[in-house]
Structures are given as structure tokens and as C-alpha cells.
């Protein structure tokens, strides 16, 4: 499918500079390449946001972008999305659960919440 676009003169000059620098055949090929790269970046950002908002897991995000888990971790880094985010409530809640479920594993073995909870 063909799309016709109008661009300001200075943008066309930039496109021409990229065409020359990257040795593209013509403006059409340059613009096509830039649009595809930009869409790919946007797609990664959109998926990274889903992970950040806890709407999708790391694996589901990896599947969406057709990459493996480790590559998805790298994409999150590129998108400035930390791997482990949100409140630390989950850690403290889990510590409490662990003390109830595995009391003998803790040094004090009293099932209390410890000094930091």
C-alpha cells in the first residue's frame, strides 16, 4: 500500500542527509526504514508499559514481542522500566507469611515479624 506524505523542506533535507549517510537508495527507502524503526520502538514501549502496570507478566510480554525472557529483560532496560517495581508491601507480607509457614527456618523461631517489619 502506498501513502503520500507532505513534509517541511528542512525535514526533507534531513531525510536526504540520512539517505546519504546510511547509503539508502532513495528518500522512499529512508522514510520507510525510519517509520518501521519508530513503530518497533513504540511497540516495545507499549509492551513495557503493560509490564510496568502489572497487566502482563515478563513471559507474556516476551511472547508479545516474539523474544525470550532474557531479551525481554533487556528491552525493559532500554525502555527504562525497572524489572521489579511497585510497593515493597509484597516483600513484608511475604516475610510474615514465611514466618507463619516456615517458622523453624527463622533464627528467632518465634513467628514474630522481626525488627524491620
Amino acid at each position: 500500500m502506498n501513502v503520500t506524505i507532505t513534509l517541511p523542506k528542512d525535514v526533507i533535507a534531513e531525510v536526504d542527509a540520512v539517505t546519504k549517510e546510511k547509503k539508502f537508495l532513495n528518500r522512499k527507502q529512508t522514510i520507510r526504514s525510519l517509520v518501521l524503526a519508530s513503530l518497533e520502538k513504540e511497540r516495545k514501549l507499549r509492551v513495557a508499559k503493560l509490564y510496568q502496570k502489572r497487566r502482563k507478566t515478563l513471559r507474556q510480554c516476551a511472547e508479545m514481542l516474539d523474544v525470550d525472557v532474557e531479551e525481554m529483560m533487556e528491552i525493559l532496560r532500554e525502555c527504562n522500566v525497572p524489572l521489579s517495581n511497585g510497593s515493597t508491601d509484597d516483600i513484608f507480607k511475604s516475610l510474615k507469611m514465611m514466618r507463619e509457614q516456615q517458622p523453624s527456618a527463622f533464627k528467632d523461631s518465634l513467628g514474630n515479624d522481626g525488627a524491620n517489619t
Binding site: 507478566t57 525497572p82 521489579s84 511475604s94
Partner: protein, 156 residues
Amino acid sequence: MRFVLDTSSLINLRELEWLDLLKNPEDIFLCPEKVEQELQRKKRKNNEIFKLSEEGVLSILSVSHPIVFSALSNTDSDAISLALENNSTVVSEDGLLRENAIRYGVPAIDIAGILLIFYQEGRIDKSDCLSRLKVLFENQILSKSRYYQLLISLRS
């Protein structure tokens, strides 16, 4: 203590060269078969993780009674199921996975959580814990808010 390690945590421990943290005779570290299969795809890179399995530090187990979590993938679900079957804690950097585990009554923490436990249990000192948390933050493994919340709890 018993932990079930997910791919994200194992990869980060490998990357940070912190796999030695798992070498503690007091703890049992488990890994679902599906996670191991995931790691096998980059066998050479994950060699250090497989060594732990050969040394008996990390046990690869299959799930006997898999629970299906509609919001999660099969491998995510297996991590929680294995933790439930073995009265263990899930260790994953994935917030949605942790959320589902906790809702199901299975404790779930990230590497930062392991550091906190090890500090509370006297296995690492405060400065070691703090410097490792900083490394997690600087490597974008731990979010800023999570990092600061942990700093506050450690200093209180």
C-alpha cells in the same frame, strides 16, 4: 528456608555474579522444570546455573499438580504451583507473578527480598545488604520507589 526460583531472578543472579548467595546449606532452592527448559535455550550462557544443579544447590523439579492461573502463563503458574507443593517462597522479579502467588497464599519476593531476609538472619551485614540493593537499583532491576522503601525499612 525453601525458595522456588524463577527465570528472571536466576538470570539476574547470574548477570550480577551473585549465584554464590544460593550456596547455603540451610536453604533449599528449587527450580521448575519449565524454567530450566527456558534456560536451556541459552545453555552456554547459563552454564553457571546448571553447575549449581549438578552440585545439588539447585533442584530441578516438575510440578505434580499444576494450578492454572488465568492471568499467567504456564511457566509462571508452575513456579507458584511448585512453591505451593513444597511449602516454599517464590523468588521472581515479576510483580504480576508475585501478586498472584501472594493472593493464593504463597509468599513471593524478589532478589531484594532475599537480601532483606539474609540481612535479618545475620547472613550478610548491613553494608553488604545496602550496597547490593544499590547495585539492583543501578542496574534497573529494582525501581526507585522500591529501593527507597527498602532503604527506609533498613534504617529504621
